[in-house]
């Protein structure tokens, strides 16, 4: 029997998790999550041979992330991690143990984001924190890139 592809494994986990979260929360719009799950599955199947498949999967998965985050932020974190697993699997980035390291790092940073959002009352503060962190990383990276290019290209 042919083993399931990693993206389908992640999807099964996502489907199980989203169903459980929806049932536990007793949301009046429970059918929305089911529709969005079906939509994501449809996109996964349709775009199997397409270029830039990651883009379509993210487009199909983000509404589900928003829907689950509306119920509970930690449910949103779970959805984000599973969606990332689906995208990684679809792009062939989950083939070895070493490949899992970026995925784990992404899950860790997503946890940090959820934590910051959880502790805030409004969007502005977490947005400023995230923006500042991104700006600092990009600034450091720019300096490193400049030094690297100067060393190898003399420019």
């Amino acid at each position: 029997m042919k083993p399931l592809l990693p993206e389908y494994l992640f999807f099964i986990a996502l489907a199980a998790g989203v169903t459980g979260i929806t049932l536990l929360a007793g949301s009046p719009v429970w059918y929305l999550n089911v529709i969005l799950l079906t939509l994501l599955l449809g996109i996964m199947v349709i775009t199997r041979t397409w270029h830039d498949r990651g883009f379509y999967l993210v487009c199909g998965g983000e509404p589900l992330v928003v829907a689950c985050s509306t119920i509970n932020l930690w449910a949103g974190l779970f959805t984000v991690c599973m969606l990332a697993g689906i995208v990684y699997g679809a792009l062939g980035l989950c083939e070895s143990r070493q490949d899992l390291r970026p995925f784990v790092l992404f899950c860790g940073s997503s946890f940090f984001i959820v934590l910051v959002i959880q502790l805030s009352n409004h969007v502005l503060l977490p947005l400023l924190i995230l923006g500042s962190i991104t700006a600092i990383i990009l600034a450091i990276q720019s300096v490193r890139a400049y030094q690297f290019r100067k060393l190898y290209s003399g420019a």
Partner: protein, 437 residues
């Protein structure tokens, strides 16, 4: 660093989600947008890290089949590029040619699919340098891309630009089609000789030759018109200047006189023939060809630029011409048939053997071929060769041989201020007047 199409789309979605979160003050939308942005940032850091690993592993070794080379000649280059590949990364490495060179054939770039092992690629290609001087190779171009990003970095470290290509000047290697043809050219100057081209038409006046009447034009205008034919004149002489070597002392006074003589001859030739061609050599090295120059001031400035003692990359060291050697061998064989004296016979046999040995091992020099190619671009019936005559002058024989094989009269002017008599320019003016009168 460039974002690929997929990443551009994801960045746009992330931006839209964050904007919506800010406007709606919705934490759920912020979570979706923030995590997406963080994912893109993480991929960027990962890509940058792998790019550095690849770039630091790149090494190149180039070897040239000869160095230095002459301008316009083909040069074979063999490059060996080694680098460590990466999974998920497509790598394209290109060997960058030295500036002012043309790629004749061969492959200079390689594209590899994702593979984390160390890779070695061999390039063999041929280039033609078109400008003389010393040129470094331009380095290496490394283009790396994955699903999300792509970037190109040009490596210009000292080790990436070796070796230094030394290109020596040479005669013009392309032989353009001359705009004059035949043994003579038409001239608008008054001449007793009638050319074939019609210069103009004018109305008939009493005394005109009736054989020159253009009957068609005359019938059309109901007046008699006379054809004015162009005159004919011979092609201007080629002036060859043999510049002294800057590596040894030379008589400056004689050199200045040679410069003055050449300048005077150039001016006179342009005034007489409308254009002049000057070939500048230094020993068996062709430095420059001023080809069919019509402007006196431009020609003089070119002469001022080039007429200095020059570096000689090639020396002949009294190399005899092969035709002369064959001629000597024939003469010796004639002498051997007529001589009976044993000592004389032994001497001539030894001399003949020496000549034959030289003929066996000595090939025709590249200089002769370059002179032949340069002369093939020009039309002339006379050539004037100016030289100081100091040092080895065997290259002059090679030039003269090429000119004579084309039935061109050669006038050699060894400029020596200590010798009395007419100067070369006066002799030349006398020659030209004699021809034309």
């Amino acid at each position: 660093m460039l974002l690929r199409r997929c990443t551009q789309g994801l960045s746009l979605i992330s931006l839209l989600l964050i904007s919506c979160a800010l406007i709606l003050d919705d934490m759920a939308v912020l979570l979706a947008g923030g995590t997406l942005a963080m994912g893109i940032l993480g991929q960027y850091l990962l890509f940058d890290n792998r790019l550095r690993e690849i770039v630091t592993s790149v090494e190149i070794r180039r070897s040239l089949n000869r160095n230095p080379v002459r301008k316009g000649t083909t040069l074979q280059v063999a490059s060996t590029i080694t680098f460590r590949g990466s999974s998920r990364m497509h790598i394209q490495v290109e060997d960058l040619l030295p500036p002012n060179t043309i790629l004749v054939d061969g492959v200079i770039s390689v594209t590899t699919s994702p593979d984390p092992s160390s890779q070695t690629h061999q390039f063999n290609y041929r280039i033609i340098p078109v400008i003389h001087g010393t040129h470094h190779f331009s380095g290496l171009s490394v283009h790396v891309r994955n699903i999300f990003f792509e970037d190109t970095i040009t490596l210009t470290r000292e080790s990436d630009r070796e070796p230094v290509l030394s290109v020596q000047p040479s005669g013009l290697f392309a032989a353009p089609v001359s705009d004059v043809s035949g043994g003579t050219m038409d001239s608008r100057k008054m001449s007793v000789w009638k050319g074939v081209d019609i210069h103009s038409l004018r109305e008939y006046t009493i005394g005109d030759d009736l054989s020159h009447v253009d009957w068609k034009i005359s019938a059309k205008h109901d007046k008699i018109f006379i054809r004015k034919y162009s005159g004919v004149m011979s092609h201007p002489p080629l002036i060859i200047v043999d510049l002294p070597w800057n590596g040894m002392p030379y008589p400056e006074k004689d050199f200045n006189r040679m410069v003055s003589d050449v300048t005077g001859m150039v001016k006179h030739t342009i005034q007489t023939y409308q254009y002049v061609s000057v070939l500048l050599i230094s020993g068996p090295n062709i430095l420059h060809l001023i080809r069919e120059e019509k402007n006196i001031s431009r020609c003089i400035s070119a002469l001022q630029e080039w007429m200095h003692p020059a570096e000689r990359f090639v020396h002949f060291y009294r190399m005899p011409d092969r035709s002369d050697l064959r001629s000597h061998v024939r003469d010796i064989e004639n002498v051997l048939q007529q001589t009976t004296d044993t000592r004389t016979l032994a001497f001539y046999e030894l001399l003949r053997d020496r000549y034959l040995t030289i003929l066996q091992y000595q090939r025709a020099p590249a200089f002769s071929g370059q002179v032949a190619r340069t002369l093939s671009q020009l039309l002339m019936s006379d050539a004037y060769l100016f030289s100081l005559g100091c040092g080895d002058s065997s290259h002059i024989r090679h030039v003269v041989r090429q000119l004579q094989s084309r039935k061109i009269r050669v006038h050699i002017r060894i400029v020596d201020a200590t010798l009395s008599g007419t100067s070369s320019i006066r002799a030349y003016l006398a020659d030209t007047r004699g021809v034309r009168s």
